[in-house]
Amino acid sequence: MAVISLISTWLIPCFILLVLIVASWKRIPTYEIFVEGGKEGVKMAFTLLPFLVGMIVSISILRASGALDAFVGLLSPLLSYFGVPPDIVPLALVRPISGTAALGVTTEIIDSYGPDSFVGRLASTMQGSTDTTLYILTVYFGAVGIKKMRYALKVGLLADLIGIIASIVIVTIIFGQS
């Protein structure tokens, strides 16, 4: 357990260290390249903006009306039986369908419950540990004109389910359900 939290704090700084040492060793103009790459980040954030506004507003309406709580309350006895926090259901449903939509839902969950709550940590982990199956299948198969997908969708969705279950188990073990 200690190893996992150690990785969490050390991984990023150590990676930056490695990159900068290797790049300087090879006499690469690090700062100039950094700035060049950083420009893409500005573009990316603005591309995300309308997606986030749309999704966060829509789910906020659902939550503020009380409909989300009612829905979650309905499912909660069944889910609690399996140790699944009901508040995570909206994210689990949206995650395989759209990446930006899921990011919106994750943000909304972190906003409502706090980043250091159990659900907040779980949403953070889940967002990172599976990808958007339907989007990936559409883009990649569409781009090269594949018409028969065979068992691809089945494998993708089942892998998502494994990722969701793994997230719940690992977050419960590391941080405890509170």
């Binding site: 150690l6 594949i146 690992i170």
Partner: protein, 194 residues
């Protein structure tokens, strides 16, 4: 699909508010959350600029290339139908390494190139075994460092925004192994049926 879900959430919300008498809260949430979403998108700039800048340096320094060399034997094992020196292998490796560092935008063009190469190998409009393996790995996510999530956690004043890196890696490894096993299982099942 997204369209239906998106519209339905708002539609159900408004109708439920009519019955439940929570229209006032809905009104407030509408404007407050739109405002919030803009603040977050702007806030994401900090991390995205920094991370994409570092990744560009890593790419120029040949670190992504080094990683691709390390993973090459694994990828050859995972894609037994692709000849060893075929260009598809190179594209698959670039796609995987870009994905690992959360460079989704760089990963997609590489992935499409890999798919084109694999289509040339199979020559039909039916998904080949290699294509499905490739997509299974992509859908299970290969992310090691979830930068956007860290940025959002920072925005909401998390005591430790990066504490979820470890759990994300463990969950990613499990879902990726799961994807590989499922992919093999369905492949051999389809062989037996034919």
């Amino acid at each position: 699909m997204v369209n239906i879900i998106w519209a339905l959430m708002a539609i159900i919300g408004v109708i439920y508010a009519m019955i439940n008498g929570t229209m006032d809260q809905v009104n407030k949430a509408l404007f407050k959350s739109a405002d919030e979403a803009v603040t977050i998108s702007i806030g994401l700039i900090s991390i995205l600029v920094f991370w994409l800048g570092i990744m560009k340096v890593a790419e120029k320094a040949g670190i992504l290339h080094m990683l691709a060399r390390i993973f090459r034997p694994v990828v050859l094992k995972l894609f037994p139908d692709i000849p060893k020196d075929h260009p598809a292998i190179g594209y698959i490796l670039s796609n995987f390494t870009a994905n690992m560092f959360g460079l989704g935008n760089a990963a997609t063009p590489m992935g499409i190139k890999a798919m084109e190469q694999m289509k040339q190998l199979s020559g039909t409009d039916t998904a080949s075994r290699s294509m499905i393996t490739f997509l299974a790995l992509n859908t299970s996510s290969l992310t090691i460092i979830p930068t956007t999530v860290i940025a959002i956690r920072m925005h909401y004043n998390s005591a430790s925004p990066t504490e979820i890196v470890g759990t994300t890696i463990v969950a990613t490894v499990i879902s990726t192994l799961g994807a590989i096993v499922l992919d093999r299982f369905f492949h051999y099942r389809s062989l037996r049926r034919e």
